[in-house]
């Protein structure tokens, strides 16, 4: 496991994000148990940022306990039985608002026509917020292969 200072996104993670954006944000529920949220991870100034509704469970979880994990994967081949690989990150999250539109950087998955404009409108209205994460550790992961 590699330790990094916050805001210093590991180079291999940055390179991964240039090709893939499938991710799961891990947060803690009110009872302290773990939960996972499928998300699109975007790069912002060395960290990761996630866009979601202000009243969502994930936003409330991060506001209550900032400890988060992130799993970054290289594709959507699970249904075909192919092994995904990626990175597991750990760090802190922070809920924040934005004034302007959010640029989709890296390999963001395609969204429906008009969807990005609607998301930006709701960000301006404050109905949606950003969860910014400061990555402290990272490790590569994959699934167990047949023996």
């Amino acid at each position: 496991m590699k330790s990094k200072s916050p805001e210093d996104l590991p180079a291999e993670v940055r390179e991964h994000l240039e090709r893939h954006s499938r991710s799961f944000l891990l947060t803690l529920r009110p009872d302290g148990s773990p939960t996972a949220h499928p998300m699109t991870a975007l790069v912002e100034e060395g960290g990761l940022v996630f866009n979601t509704y202000r009243k969502s469970a994930k936003a409330r979880n991060v506001e209550r306990d900032p400890r988060v994990g992130v799993v970054l994967l290289d594709g959507y081949d699970s249904a075909a039985g192919e092994g995904c690989r990626g990175y597991a990150l750990a760090g802190d999250g922070e809920v924040g608002r934005v004034e302007g539109p959010v640029e989709r950087q890296g390999a963001g998955a395609e969204v429906a026509p008009g969807q990005q404009e609607r998301v930006n409108e709701r960000l301006r209205e404050g109905k949606r917020i950003l969860i910014r994460t400061r990555v402290a550790t990272s490790r590569s992961i994959d699934v167990a292969e047949p023996s």
Binding site: P34, S78, A80, A112, I141, V143
Partner: protein, 125 residues
């Protein structure tokens, strides 16, 4: 007016999970922080069985069995489907579908699941 439900029915969830071969697994670290991994999985009866290969994460799961398994698929925006299952992991015998995969087999029940199917969104952009 409440938000529309885009959750899968029980039958839809079972059909979806029947085709899933791996899940993201979230466990608790020693300090209670969320840690992630990937695991091969199979739907066995009413349980989701997964094989955890990382011995450190297995030790954490033995210490605190609270776990979450999640997966999704994204052919196109309005075909996004996925689910997140929460429960307490327990060690089980390796099912035939996963007998050739290295690691420790755990199972969780599917009685605390959040699912979504974007095909059910009524107000498409």
């Amino acid at each position: 007016m409440g938000r529309e439900s885009i959750a899968m029915s029980d039958d839809e969830l079972r059909a979806f999970l029947g085709g899933v071969r791996q899940v993201v697994v979230a466990v608790l670290g020693k300090g209670g922080e969320p840690l992630g991994a990937l695991a091969r999985c199979a739907l066995v009866g009413d349980q989701l069985v997964f094989i955890l290969a990382d011995s450190q994460l297995c030790a954490l799961l033995e210490r605190d069995p609270r776990v979450c398994c999640a997966t999704d698929e994204y052919p196109t925006y309005y075909e996004i489907r996925g689910m997140t299952a929460h429960g307490r992991a327990r060690r089980v015998e390796r099912p035939p579908a996963l007998e050739v995969v290295d690691g420790v087999a755990y199972a969780i029940d599917l009685d605390d699941v959040v699912s979504f199917d974007f095909e059910k969104i009524q107000a498409k952009v």
